[in-house]
């Protein structure tokens, strides 16, 4: 198994919660798992709450509406109220459904998102485990959510659900190729699979960010945004839950808490994708202004975590903005975009990056003398 850095969150938690050490030996690991597990769950839920509220407001403003206004100032508590309502709903399982699979499916989908959070660095030390194969791990675990969705589609015993799940499978398998190419390009530039190393490599002035590393990196950046949208099944790639064709796709038969788990998982995955874009291309938790990044102590941590959340929410907004602008594309268009546009462009960009890295290793534009040695 991967070695962990000494600063990893798990060890900090042991220091922070001394009573854990007083527990009997055999409880150490379960308690540790429980406590560390709580953190991603909390972050996912909070991000889900904020994300849903944001989505409603953004869509409302783009359509000259007000959005939720009743609960809390400017309707801020509306999502919470909806969550409580969903919890109170009757738990319906269709008679002909495959019961165990039907119950397991949302859990599998949520676990997929939950596992993604483990490898996201919110700061140099605030990461559950800094795996030395971080990117590889993310690419692998991102597919678990799909398993949950295919389970849901199959277990529902409903043709809409099944069609939605099949589309989802086809879509995710197709778009894993461009996503993989983009990740490989980033790895070529950074020289490391570890998430923390990737971010550390971008320290300094914002010209150090990977998006500015070579002239084709922005192509990779855009390709990654498009491919991540497709992996997230967000509009305009929301074919798996196309309301006008498939009722609501794989979660047609789901209601109440199970439905809301799917929902939270979706918003959690959106956040992870946004954070990943920031980490891989835009300096992660660094603000791009050297003297802000060099602050130590709790203030520095706050700035860095804030920077990552700020960037992630900016991309969350971009996802919403795209969703409320573009219509859903056709299935063939989706595959055309993947295999005939993103894959070739990604490949060319990857090859150019590889050569660039061979000829001009180091700090990208900085090595050309544009901004000599600033802030490193």
């Amino acid at each position: 198994m991967p070695e962990t850095t000494t600063g990893a969150l798990i060890y900090q938690i042991l220091e922070l919660l001394p009573f854990l050490k007083e527990l009997p030996e055999f409880l150490h690991i379960p308690m540790l798992m429980f406590v560390t597990g709580l953190i991603p769950v909390t972050v996912i839920s909070l991000v889900g709450l904020v994300g849903v509220y944001m989505e409603r407001k953004v869509s409302a403003f783009m359509q000259i509406r007000l959005g939720p206004m009743e609960y809390g100032p400017w309707g801020t508590l509306q999502t919470l109220a909806d969550g409580i309502k969903l919890m109170g709903k009757e738990d319906i399982i269709p008679r002909e459904a495959d019961k165990p699979l039907f119950i397991l499916a949302p859990i599998a989908a949520f676990v997929g998102v939950f596992l993604l959070f483990i490898a996201i660095p919110f700061d140099r030390d605030i990461i559950v485990v800094d795996l030395n194969v971080g990117i590889f791990y993310l690419a692998a675990v991102a597919s678990i959510e799909v398993v949950g969705i295919i389970m849901a589609g199959w277990a529902s015993n409903n043709k809409w659900s099944l069609l939605g799940a099949m589309r989802e499978a086809a879509q995710v398998v197709a778009y894993e190729i461009p996503v993989g190419i983009c990740l490989v390009t980033v790895v070529i530039v950074s020289g490391s699979f570890s998430m923390v190393d990737i971010v550390e490599e971008q320290k300094g002035l914002f010209l150090n960010w990977f998006i500015f590393r070579n002239p084709v990196m922005w192509v990779v950046f855009i390709a990654f945004i498009i491919a991540s949208l497709a992996e997230l099944k967000r509009a305009p790639f929301d074919l798996p839950e196309a309301e006008s064709e498939l009722v609501s796709g794989f979660h047609t038969e789901y209601s109440g808490m199970r439905f809301s788990i799917f929902f939270i998982a979706e918003y959690g995955a959106m956040f992870v994708a946004s954070a990943l874009i920031a980490i891989l291309f835009l300096g992660g938790y660094y603000t791009g202004i050297p003297f802000l990044d060099n602050i130590d102590g709790i203030l520095g941590i706050l700035i860095r975590v804030g920077a990552l959340f700020g960037k992630a929410f900016a991309f969350l907004f971009l996802q919403m903005w795209i969703r409320w602008t573009l219509p859903r594309i056709r299935l063939d268009q989706m595959f055309y975009l993947c295999y005939k546009v993103l894959v070739p462009f990604g490949f060319v960009a990857m090859i150019i990056t590889a050569f660039w890295q061979m000829v001009l290793p180091g700090d990208g534009f900085m090595s050309l003398g544009w901004a000599p040695g600033l802030g490193k």
Binding site: F61, M62, Q63, I64, L66, W321, L326, V341
Partner: protein, 326 residues
């Protein structure tokens, strides 16, 4: 190959354009938002909106014109013109025990408001009539509340009193009619006194109308006021052209100024015009303006009425200026 890149360029361009449009909407959202937070704030309702009715009870003369006009017969009126019913709402020369509209039936057609001779029933602004029970759809226009059990008990209880009042009136009228008949015989004997009899004619007509009234109880009530209303209405229509000028005090002055016609006649013409002017229904479009003069006219028809309003003063100032000039 060329088309491939051209297509990519076209798609990218259209996406950027579309995102620009939504961005502009998002940024300018505050200015553009059209949502009205309904229960908290309400849209402006046009002044001619046909909502639920409201009744100016003090002007109602209990003529049943509105309930007769209603195509679905959903207006229920009870009351008496023959005297004061205790505890009832007072109209103009009438006591109303009941004036309710069943909004389960009403089609908001405005037909009840049109024939009302005193323009006292109007379509209002209220529009959300929600109730869980059918009988809550009955509105009591006298109190502007739901017509409830207590109201109904009151109405039923007062029916005897109304009948009693009607009989009293019948008896008195019958006596009067006898007296009038006797007077008529006497008048017929004196051929020379025909001119004087002309003055009594309206009275005689009333008496004549009262006789059929005695036979048929209810229809009598509307018939009689109608008879009264007709002579009242005629002068109104006659004076209408003058009244239009008088209703708006401002144009009345220029009209009066350049008309230094035969002095005495102008004065005489102007003086009767002043009290008559308000009663005439001016242009029906100006309902709000029209409402006030109507009330005044009915009240000012009685000489020496203490209620004099601004419009009245305005119209009376017209002739006074004329007098000065003449």
């Amino acid at each position: 190959m060329g088309t491939y890149f051209r297509e990519i360029y076209k798609v990218s361009k259209s996406i950027v354009t579309g995102m620009g449009i939504t961005w502009r909407y998002f940024v300018n959202a505050k200015k553009r938002i059209v949502t009205i937070q309904y229960p908290h704030e309400k849209a402006k309702i046009p002044s001619r909106h046909r909502g639920t009715h409201f009744l100016e009870t003090e002007k109602c003369i209990l003529c049943y014109q509105c309930s007769n006009a209603c195509p679905v017969d959903c207006i229920y009126i009870e009351g008496s013109r023959d005297g004061t019913v205790s505890g009832s709402h007072q109209g103009k020369g009438a006591s109303l025990t009941r004036f309710s509209i069943d909004y389960g039936l009403c089609i908001y057609c405005n037909l009840c408001c049109e024939p009302c001779p005193t323009e006292c029933i109007h379509m209002g602004q209220q529009f959300n009539l929600v109730s869980t029970r059918r009988d809550e759809m009955m509105n009591n226009l006298l109190t502007d509340k739901v017509y409830n059990e207590a109201d109904h008990k009151f109405v039923v209880g007062k029916r005897a009193e109304i009948d009693h009042l009607a009989e009293e009136k019948k008896r008195i009228k019958a006596e009067k009619a006898k007296a009038a008949a006797a007077a008529k015989k006497a008048a017929a004997a004196k051929k020379a006194a025909e001119e004087a009899a002309a003055g009594d004619k309206p009275e005689a007509k009333e008496a004549g109308a009262a006789k059929p009234a005695a036979k048929a109880e209810k229809p009598a009530a509307p018939a009689k006021p109608a008879a009264e209303a007709k002579p009242a209405a005629k002068p109104k229509t006659d004076s209408a052209p003058k009244a239009e000028g008088a209703a708006k005090p401002a144009p009345a002055k220029p009209k009066a100024d350049p008309a230094p016609k035969p002095d005495v006649k102008a004065e005489e013409g102007a003086k009767p015009a002043a009290p008559k002017a308000p009663p005439a229904k001016p242009a029906p479009e100006e309902k709000k303006e029209a409402d006030k003069p109507v009330t005044e006219s009915k009240e000012s028809a009685k000489p020496g009425d203490d209620k004099k309003k601004e419009d009245d003063k305005g119209s009376s100032s017209g002739p006074s200026e004329e007098e000065k000039k003449s």
